[in-house]
C-alpha cells in the first residue's frame, strides 16, 4: 500500500498463444504525473495501456492503482477511464447522452445526470454541441466530447490511446498543450500512448520507452534524451548518432556535431549525403566510409557561411565530453 504512486505495474506480463506482447514490465507512476508510453508499433505499449484499463486480461503480475490491487477488477472499479483512439462515441446518442452515459448506468436520475453532463461539456468548451450526434462533429470536437465522457467518471487515472493521431498537425500541437494543461488542472495521472517521440518529449513528466514488450528506459524526457541507456533508445528518440567507440557503442547528439577539419579530437569524415533546411538549423547527413550515415544539426548562420552540397567531402567533429557511452546490447 504505497500511496505515493497512482499506478504501479509489478512484473506485468501478457502472453498470447504464440507471442509475448508484454514481458515482465514493472513501472511506478508517481501521483498526478503525465506519463507517455513511447515505442514503435508492436512494442506492447497499447497492450500495457489496455491491461491498466482492464480491457485486456493480465497473464502474470499485478496492477495497483493508488495502492489497491486491481489486476482482476472490472474497468469501472479501477478508477480509470479510457479515451479510445477512434474516440468510440456512441453513434446513436447525442453528445449530452454520450457524456451522461456512465451516470445513467449508475442509475442517476435524468435531471441530475444532464446537469453534470452539461458541466463537463462546458469544461471542454462543448456546451453548444450537447444535442449534436457524434457524426455531426469534427474530429477535434469528437475528441473533446470523448474527454468529457471519460472525465465525468472522475477517474484517478486517464488513459489515452494515441489521442493525437487522428488530428491534423496544427491541431495536434494545440491539443497537446490543452491536454497537458487539463492534466495539471485536474491533478490526476494521464497515461498517454504514442509512437511520436516529439509528443512524448513535449508532454511527459515520465517518459517510458518500450521495445519488444519490455521497458528499455523510463525517466524524465530530459534524462532520457541526455543519457539514453541503449542504442535502441538513442536511435528511437532521435537527435543522436550511434557510433562504435573503443568500449562499445556510444551516442553523440547531432546538435553537438560541428563541421570542421580532422584534428586531434574525435571526428568522422565522409561525403555529404543530404542537406535539409529546417529553419533555425540545417541538418547535414554524412555518409561515412563504413556505409553508415550520421547527421549534424548546424546553426543556419554557420552553415551558410560555407554551404555544402550533396557529394561534397566533409568532416564532423565533436568534443570528448559530448560522448555518451551506451550499454552494449
Amino acid at each position: 500500500m504505497d500511496a505515493r504512486f497512482d499506478v504501479e505495474l509489478v512484473s506485468v506480463t501478457k502472453r498470447y498463444a504464440n507471442a509475448t506482447a508484454v514481458d515482465d514490465v514493472s513501472l511506478r507512476i508517481p501521483r498526478a504525473s503525465y506519463c507517455c508510453l513511447l515505442g514503435p508499433s508492436g512494442c506492447g505499449k497499447t497492450t500495457t495501456l489496455r491491461m491498466i484499463a482492464g480491457h485486456e486480461a493480465v497473464t502474470d503480475g499485478d496492477i495497483l492503482i493508488r495502492g489497491a490491487n486491481v489486476t482482476v477488477a472490472p474497468p469501472i472499479r479501477r478508477g480509470t477511464a479510457m479515451m479510445f483512439q477512434s474516440y468510440a462515441l456512441f453513434p446513436h446518442l447525442n453528445c449530452l447522452d454520450n457524456v451522461a452515459f456512465s451516470l445513467k448506468m449508475r442509475g442517476i436520475g435524468k435531471a441530475e445526470r444532464n446537469r453534470k453532463a452539461h458541466a463537463f461539456l462546458a469544461l471542454m468548451h462543448m456546451e453548444g454541441f450537447a444535442q449534436r450526434l457524434p457524426a455531426q462533429l469534427s474530429g477535434g470536437q469528437q475528441q473533446r466530447v470523448a474527454l468529457a465522457r471519460a472525465l465525468i467518471t472522475q477517474p484517478r487515472v486517464l488513459l489515452l490511446d494515441e489521442p493525437l493521431s487522428a488530428l491534423d498537425p496544427f491541431l495536434r500541437i494545440k491539443v497537446r498543450e490543452e491536454l497537458k494543461r487539463l492534466q495539471r488542472e485536474l491533478a490526476i495521472t494521464f497515461i498517454h500512448v504514442t509512437h511520436s517521440q516529439d509528443e512524448a518529449m513535449a508532454m511527459a513528466d515520465l517518459m517510458v520507452v518500450m521495445e519488444d514488450g519490455r521497458i528499455r528506459q523510463a525517466g524524465p524526457p530530459r534524462e532520457v534524451f541526455e543519457q539514453p541507456t541503449s542504442a535502441f533508445v538513442a536511435r528511437f528518440i532521435g537527435g543522436h548518432n550511434v557510433l562504435s567507440g573503443d568500449r562499445g557503442p556510444i551516442a553523440v547528439r547531432a546538435d553537438r556535431c560541428r563541421l570542421g577539419t580532422p584534428g586531434d579530437g574525435p571526428h568522422l569524415s565522409g561525403r555529404v549525403a543530404a542537406v535539409e533546411y529546417q529553419g533555425g538549423v540545417v541538418r547535414v547527413a554524412l555518409a561515412i566510409d563504413d556505409g553508415d550515415e550520421i547527421s549534424a544539426l548546424v546553426p543556419d548562420a554557420t552553415f551558410y557561411r560555407a554551404p555544402l552540397e550533396p557529394g561534397d567531402p566533409a568532416t564532423f567533429v565533436w568534443s570528448e565530453q559530448d560522448v555518451h557511452v551506451l550499454q552494449s546490447a
Binding site: 474497468p75 468510440a88 446513436h92 444535442q131 471519460a150
Partner: protein, 285 residues
C-alpha cells in the same frame, strides 16, 4: 475554336455505343420483370363479361368482390390472416434467435464451425425434402400437423439461416470498441446490450425482421407438406389457380401485391419516423 467544349459541357454529350446497348438491355430486363405483372394488374379490373385474356371488356371490381363471396373463396381472407400471424411469429423468432446467435458467433468456441455448417445446411437442402422430413417426423411421433407447430418449424429452417447470414454481415461492420467503451463507463453486460449494442445494430435487425416476414409470407414448398388442414395464403392461391380460370386469379394477385407494398411502406414509414425523431432529438433545445 470551341471544338473541344462540347465534350466537357455535360454527360449527355457523346456517350459510347455501349451505353445505349446496355440501356436497351436494362430496359428489356425491366419490361421482362414488370411486364407480366402489369398485365395481371390491368386484367384484374376486367369487366364482368370479360375473360382471362385481352381485350378488356369494360372495367369493374367484380373479380375483387368475387374473392370475398362466401360460397366461392371463403377461405382466402382466413388464409391471409393465418399467413400474417405465422409470418409475424416467424419474424419475431428469427430475430431473437439469429441476433443472439450472430452475437455469439463473434467469439470462436469449440464446435463453432460444425454448428455453423449445420445451421446453414438447410439452405442447401431441397426445400421440399425438408418439408417432407418434418411432416413425416410429426406423423411418426403421432403429433398433429399445425400452423404453429410443424409449419412454423419448417419455415424456421428457411428463415433462420437467412437471418444468421444477415446477422454475420451486420456484426462484421460493428466496431467492438463501442462495447469496450460501454464497459469502461461501467455498463453491466445487460446494460451494454440494451443501450449500446442493440441500438447500433437496430437497422440490420429491422432488416432481418422484414426479410424473415416476407420469406415466411410467400413460402410454399416447406409449408405445403407440414401445414395440416388449414392453408396459408400461398397454398390457398395455388389451390385456386389449379381449379379456377377466371380473372379472380388476377384480382388475388393484385391484392397480395398491394398487401406486400403496404407492408414495405409501413416499415419504411416507421424507420423514417424513427430517424426523424432521432434527428429532432438531436436538433431541439
Amino acid at each position: 475554336m470551341l471544338a473541344g467544349s462540347g465534350r466537357i459541357s455535360g454527360p449527355s454529350a457523346d456517350r459510347p455505343w455501349t451505353f445505349y446497348a446496355l440501356a436497351t438491355l436494362f430496359g428489356a430486363w425491366l419490361l421482362f420483370l414488370y411486364g407480366p405483372m402489369a398485365v395481371i394488374y390491368v386484367l384484374s379490373f376486367q369487366g364482368p363479361n370479360g375473360g382471362v385474356t385481352f381485350p378488356m371488356v369494360g372495367t369493374s371490381l367484380t373479380w375483387f368482390r368475387d374473392i370475398f363471396r362466401p360460397e366461392q373463396m371463403a377461405n382466402l381472407p382466413a388464409a391471409f390472416l393465418r399467413s400474417i400471424e405465422l409470418a409475424a411469429v416467424v419474424s419475431i423468432l428469427t430475430v431473437i434467435i439469429s441476433v443472439s446467435a450472430g452475437l455469439g458467433f463473434r467469439r470462436r468456441f469449440p464446435g463453432s464451425g460444425v454448428l455453423f455448417y449445420l445451421a446453414v445446411a438447410s439452405l442447401v437442402m431441397p426445400s421440399l425434402l425438408v418439408g417432407f422430413g418434418i411432416g413425416l417426423g410429426f406423423q411418426v411421433l403421432g403429433l398433429p400437423h399445425g400452423l404453429f407447430t410443424s409449419a412454423l418449424g419448417a419455415q424456421l429452417t428457411w428463415t433462420l439461416p437467412f437471418g444468421l447470414f444477415t446477422m454475420f454481415a451486420v456484426v462484421n461492420r460493428f466496431n467492438r470498441t463501442y462495447e469496450e467503451a460501454a464497459n469502461d463507463l461501467g455498463a453491466s453486460p445487460w446494460q451494454r446490450l440494451r443501450y449500446v449494442t442493440l441500438p447500433i445494430l437496430m437497422p440490420g435487425i429491422i432488416g432481418i425482421a422484414m426479410g424473415a416476414f416476407t420469406l415466411s409470407y410467400d413460402e410454399y414448398a416447406r409449408t405445403t407438406l407440414t401445414i395440416g388442414t388449414r392453408n396459408t395464403l400461398p397454398l390457398e392461391i395455388y389451390a385456386l389457380i389449379s381449379s379456377a380460370t377466371s380473372p379472380t386469379l388476377f384480382a388475388i394477385g393484385t391484392m397480395t401485391t398491394a398487401v406486400s407494398f403496404l407492408l414495405i411502406g409501413i416499415t419504411l414509414a416507421v424507420v423514417l419516423r424513427m430517424q426523424r425523431k432521432r434527428r429532432q432529438l438531436a436538433g431541439e433545445q
